[in-house]
């Protein structure tokens, strides 16, 4: 029964995503379903519902969540345009699957079956999960939502709550805080990362190159292990990976509005994603000039600023901590030699990139093509913008390792693979496009 109810919860996330894209982003126009984008927007819709309910002091229950899902399914029956779009897209998806190479589908299905068996053989069992993410999820589920008191019940409480809200949503529908089936979310996130990457790499045709790029992503050990291993599957990093990948794909296709929505959602998942959102806001006027019209640019900038302000306002309202910013920086600089500490962090990254049991040869391929195709990246505004955001994000990690109150070595050891996972699929996608796959993929603006 739990699996069925959890599946309904996941379905409702996609349903909310369709409504968000149809009514808010596409304003009632036809659009092609992209399951990864729909899931991401659905997560955003759930986050909005929880925060709105919190501000209005409305408390969720199993019944009210069931009623909410039922109400949000009504447009699919009452709005003829939405009904037709949904039917057409489902048909297209089924046809798309039929066209995929059978051998690849078979191999991937076997791999997926094994992954599912690993994932659902145990409950989540990780420090970060029970220190904050799922701990907060259970609290929100018990209390009926977020309040000023329970928002900071577990420390560190400076991250936003997209992942705890999503887990709570599943708990409500399940009627219990089931920490086995909540693992459906990281599993779906992994699948959608693969789907999104596949959409880019096999858009025109299936060939040995597309298979190779896709295989590097799918079989990168740490990516699937984040789903399969009980100590990582309660963390929020794979959701940030999905948002960054979607955002990068949107930047490359010059869909800057969607790109900022995904970056905004990433910042509502983990504070780690903040540098990319800030970088986007600062670079957008230069990077997107001449690529889109002035009015679109203004709209995108306004949305980016709104995400930033909403993020900070909610933090202020719920009085969330800011463990890295609430410090005396002059003391840090006087106590920690800048060069020595940052050199240590860079060496840690150098070591991490070459851990082939964690990354396979993913980073090896990325670095070779990054150097070989550097001129292509520099000449292409979209690719340069996307890689600059990855660079800013990386600088963010280095900065946090420098200003962290915790022991630097301990902080690095416990988080370096997770933070690299956040940018890994997005970086691989940029390199794929830089390797001669750009021309046919961009939309004419």
């Amino acid at each position: 029964m739990s699996i069925l109810l959890s599946a309904i919860a996941i379905f409702s996330i996609f349903q909310l995503g369709v409504l968000a894209q149809f009514y808010l982003i596409k304003r009632g126009k036809y659009f092609e379903f992209s399951l990864p984008a729909l899931f991401a927007l659905g997560l955003g819709a759930i986050t909005t519902l929880f925060y709105l309910a919190g501000l209005l002091e409305f408390y969720f229950s199993q019944a009210s969540v069931a009623i909410t899902i039922s109400i949000f399914s009504l447009p699919f029956f009452l709005d003829a345009r939405l009904k037709n779009i949904t039917k057409k897209n489902i048909k297209n998806y089924i046809n798309g699957f039929k066209k995929s190479p059978k051998l690849f589908l078979l191999l991937f299905s076997i791999f997926l079956a094994i992954l599912i068996m690993f994932a659902f053989s145990k409950t989540v069992w990780g420090y970060d999960a029970y220190e904050r993410w799922l701990a907060k999820a259970r609290t929100f589920w018990v209390d009926g939502g977020i309040t000023k008191e329970n928002a900071k019940i577990y420390g560190p409480s400076d991250d936003h709550n997209l992942w705890p809200f999503t887990a709570s949503w599943i708990y409500y529908i399940n009627g219990s805080s089931n920490e086995i089936w909540v693992r459906l979310v990281p599993l779906i996130a992994f699948l959608l990362i693969v789907f999104e990457f596949k959409k880019h790499t096999t858009n025109k045709s299936w060939n040995i190159k597309s298979y190779s790029w896709l295989s590097i992503l799918i079989f990168t050990p740490f990516l699937w292990q984040t789903v399969a291993q009980e100590n990582y599957s309660g963390n929020a990093d794979i959701l940030v990976s999905l948002f960054f990948l979607l955002s990068t794909g949107a930047i490359i296709k010059r869909e800057f509005l969607l790109a900022v929505v995904f970056l905004g959602l990433a910042s509502f998942t983990k504070n780690d994603a903040f540098p990319a959102l800030l970088g986007y806001l600062l670079l957008l006027p230069i990077a997107a000039r001449n690529l889109v019209g002035k009015s679109e640019l203004k709209l995108v900038f306004t949305v980016a600023l709104s995400f930033l302000l909403a993020n900070l306002s909610l933090k202020y309202y719920y009085n969330l901590d800011s463990r890295y910013l609430n410090q005396d920086f002059s003391q840090i600089i006087s106590q920690k030699p800048f060069l020595k500490y940052n050199k240590y962090s860079l060496h840690a990254f150098r070591e991490q990139f070459r851990q082939t049991y964690i990354w396979g040869l993913g980073w090896w391929v990325i670095f070779i093509f990054l150097v070989k195709r550097a001129t292509i990246i520099f000449k292409n505004k979209s690719l340069l913008f996307a890689i600059a955001l990855i660079g800013i994000q990386f600088m963010g990690y280095i900065t946090i390792y420098y200003i962290s109150k915790e022991d630097q070595a301990h902080q690095i050891t416990t988080s370096i693979s997770r933070v690299l996972l956040q940018i890994y699929p997005a970086t691989l996608l940029i390199i794929y496009y830089a390797n001669g796959n750009y021309k046919n993929e961009t939309r004419t603006s």
Binding site: K122, W125, Y127, S212, I216, T220, G360, I368, F369
Partner: protein
């Protein structure tokens, strides 16, 4: 010179050395080779990554049988019986009391704290700090030093009442 080479080998390893060599080789090779090099790199990268994953899956393959247990079995073994113990805590203690848990071992202690909610458990490390608590939860180990009998004993987990009403 030999020190420099050994340092390069330690810092670079085959990963960075092969990376540098391939980039240099790509720069100076003929057009015919340089055209074929990217696909060869890509194929090698994909094959290596695939084999690394297969080897990791194979190493843990025996664990796959754990999937065929019931949800209850999975939860109890994964949480070292702390799921059921948390249920007992929720039924026994009340939020009005000052409830504590001895820090035992990181994930189980974090788990019992969150799973016991709405009962709040404050973490304590020493017997001295236990004196302020109305009830003390101890995971996996009895605490005879508290000089009182536990009111609940469950699978080697204990709840002690330290203060009378």
């Amino acid at each position: 010179m030999s020190q420099l080479i050994s340092k390069l080998l330690i810092l670079g390893g085959w990963f960075y050395i092969s990376l540098a060599l391939l980039i240099i080789f790509g720069l100076f090779s003929s057009k015919k080779i340089s055209d074929k090099l990217p696909i060869l790199i890509l194929l090698f990268g994909a094959a290596f990554t695939f084999l690394t994953s297969i080897s990791a899956l194979y190493e843990n393959f025996s664990q796959i049988k754990l999937f065929f247990r019931t949800d209850k079995e999975k939860i109890e073994t994964s949480t070292f019986n702390q799921f059921s113990f948390a249920k007992i805590i929720r039924e026994t203690l009340t939020p009005q009391h000052y409830n504590c848990v001895f820090w035992s071992w990181d994930v189980p202690t974090k788990y019992i704290i969150q799973e016991s909610y709405p009962i709040r458990l404050e973490t304590i490390w020493t017997f001295e700090s236990a004196t302020k608590c109305d009830f003390v939860v101890s995971q996996f180990v009895s605490r005879p030093e508290l000089n009182t009998q536990p009111i609940i004993v469950f699978e080697n987990n204990y709840i002690y009442k330290l203060k009378e009403e």
